[in-house]
């Protein structure tokens, strides 16, 4: 897609020039806070909305000129549930197979396959009404895959899932592209999800892409490790003078530093930091990246705590 913009009636500029290209077999992440324009982007690519300007091409087909061919190429899992809860899981899949023109033998085979994939085989004949939120999400993921799309759109695929189910879904998604022939565009505001799953991530905020790189490239762009100290009276000026300290931020007794070679320099930092209650060190997460580029945190749930090479230690002063 190139130079995509979308202005809604009422003058909300949801997208202000979005550019990216997803490669074959790639998992591409759109990461951004609420209202960033992630869903709007997907809706345009899925031909549910028309862009105000710019060009959107999916699987070689222009979304405005050949929407029919675009729709044949894609599968989508919407942010909100969109299955019929009066029907059973299997019936929902059956209807989907019919709508995509799958013939009986192929249809039945695929339904069993995708049910197995999302581990819903034994609940397939229950009405969706009786599913838990996570089961319903998995059913819709299965449905998005049923007709073997070339491009799969996942709008916050793990929203509202417990950590276990989330891990579950990550594993499927990871496995899907390994089989080949599928590219995935997924949106999320979970850092961890983008880091674990995506080959490349675009951070989007207020309708603009702020930065686009591999998760690794993004974290490296921050330039060092993050050291967070809970401390009373740090010698901020002395710390700021050290050449290995890249940035320094003090907020309510919490001192956050970006530090090159943090492991070697930690002892000296601790010496200068005054009466340290606790110290936490981690290689930068995408949250730090977001902070780095926008100066704001992505709002996220408390469960987003301990990921990566994060270490927690309590240090008592001798």
């Amino acid at each position: 897609m190139r130079g995509l913009t979308k202005v809604f009636e009422g003058g909300i500029h949801a997208l202000r020039g979005i550019d990216f290209h997803i490669k074959d077999g790639e998992i591409f992440g759109l990461l951004g806070p609420n209202g960033a324009g992630k869903t709007t982007t997907i809706n345009i690519l899925a031909t549910l909305l028309k862009q105000t300007s710019g060009e959107a091409v999916v699987n070689g087909f222009d979304c405005l000129e050949e929407p029919h061919k675009v729709r044949q190429s894609i599968g989508i899992v919407f942010q909100d549930p969109s299955s019929d809860d009066m029907l059973t899981g299997r019936e929902n899949l059956h209807l989907h197979g019919l709508m995509y023109g799958l013939r009986k033998a192929e249809r039945e085979k695929r339904i069993e396959e995708v049910l197995r994939l999302v581990e819903l085989t034994d609940r397939a004949d229950d009405r969706v009404r009786r599913y838990s939120g996570g089961m319903r999400r998995r059913l819709e993921l299965a449905r998005g895959l049923l007709h073997k799309p070339k491009v799969l759109f996942l709008d916050e695929p793990t929203l509202g899932l417990d950590p276990q189910s989330r891990e579950h879904v990550w594993r499927y998604i990871g496995g899907l592209v390994d089989e080949g022939g599928l590219s995935i565009l997924l949106t999320t505001h979970y850092m961890e999800e983008a880091e674990k799953l995506c080959h490349r991530v675009a951070i989007i905020d207020r309708g603009k892409i702020i930065v686009l790189d591999t998760p690794k490239g993004l974290t490296e762009s921050v330039g060092g490790d993050v050291v967070a100290l809970k401390t009373g009276n740090p010698d901020v000026t002395a710390l700021a003078e050290k050449e290995y300290v890249l940035s320094i931020e003090q907020k309510e007794g919490l001192l956050t530093l970006t530090v090159r070679d943090a492991k070697q320099n930690l002892p000296e930092i601790l010496r200068l930091a005054g009466r340290v209650e606790s110290v936490e060190m981690h290689s930068p997460t995408l949250n730090d990246v977001f902070l780095h580029y926008t100066g704001r945190e992505i709002r996220e749930g408390p469960e987003e705590g301990g990921y990566g090479t994060r270490m927690m230690m309590s240090v008592k002063r001798r």
Binding site: H68, R71, S82, L87, L95, H96, L98, M99
Partner: protein, 250 residues
């Protein structure tokens, strides 16, 4: 071919949901039964029209009334589809908007025809006997009337965002169509201004056709009624497919 499979899918969904909501079936036949056996019998005790007891005279009108209300209010389900986001699933599928529209229409017509069938089973209790030829003509009439009216309901539904809003707008359409249709009274002796309105109401032709085939002696020749109903339903289907093409998923 794929479009046909899709059409079948959309229809199948409507039928399954309908058959699972027993209360919907029960409530949809409850009102016509009240009309027939309370209103009809009540007035029928003292009033007869053209030599027929009022409840007998009323019977074809009540079939048309059920067709009108069930078909028109069926449009609310497209509003619900928007609400529960099932519509998005349908609109991102490769199916054409015409198929999406026709699938919904077939669903509404099926509901209507099931309901009419239940009412036909009541005929013996009113002492009305219906032969095979009559049955064919009844279903033919109901088919075209319902095709047109379901389309109207869906056209309104395609531009509405809330079921409550839909209910309000549809009541404005439903009651004039019902009262002007001659379902409750004979139309051969009306004051000219009223007659003009009555003849503009497409439901009038459905009522009169049903009355002609069930009881004999309608006010309009059967061929004319059928021609009007066919033209009316074709026009509504055409407008409906256009309305669905313009419909937004949001």
């Amino acid at each position: 071919m794929s479009e046909l499979l899709g059409l079948y899918a959309l229809w199948l969904r409507e039928v399954k949901v309908y058959s699972r909501e027993r209360s919907r079936i029960a409530s949809s036949v409850f009102t016509p039964i009240l009309w027939l056996f309370v209103f009809g019998k009540g007035l029928g005790a003292t009033i007869s029209i053209g030599g027929l007891a009022y409840d007998i005279f009323l019977y074809p009108g009540i079939i048309a009334m059920s067709t009108l209300f069930t078909s028109l209010f069926f449009g609310v389900y497209i509003v619900w589809d928007k609400r529960v986001d099932f519509l998005k699933e349908v609109l991102v599928s490769p199916l054409s908007r015409t198929t999406v529209f026709l699938g919904k229409v077939l669903g509404g017509m099926t509901d209507t025809i099931i309901q009419v069938t239940i009412l036909l089973l009541l005929a013996p209790f009113l002492g009305i006997s219906i032969g095979p030829r009559t049955i064919v003509l009844i279903y033919g009439t109901v088919f075209f009337l319902s095709l047109g009216i379901v389309s109207i309901g869906l056209i309104i539904g395609s531009v509405m965002e809330s079921p409550e809003g839909f209910g309000l707008v549809v009541s404005f359409v439903a009651y004039p169509l019902f009262f002007l249709s001659g379902a409750l009274f004979p139309i051969w002796n009306l004051p000219p201004w009223l007659r003009a309105f009555v003849m503009l109401d497409p439901v009038t032709y459905g009522v009169d056709a049903l009355r002609t085939v069930i009881l004999g002696g309608g006010a309009i020749p059967l061929e004319v009624s059928f021609a009007v109903l066919t033209a009316f339903s074709a026009a509504m289907v055409y407008i409906g497919t256009k309305a669905f093409e313009r419909m937004k998923a949001y």
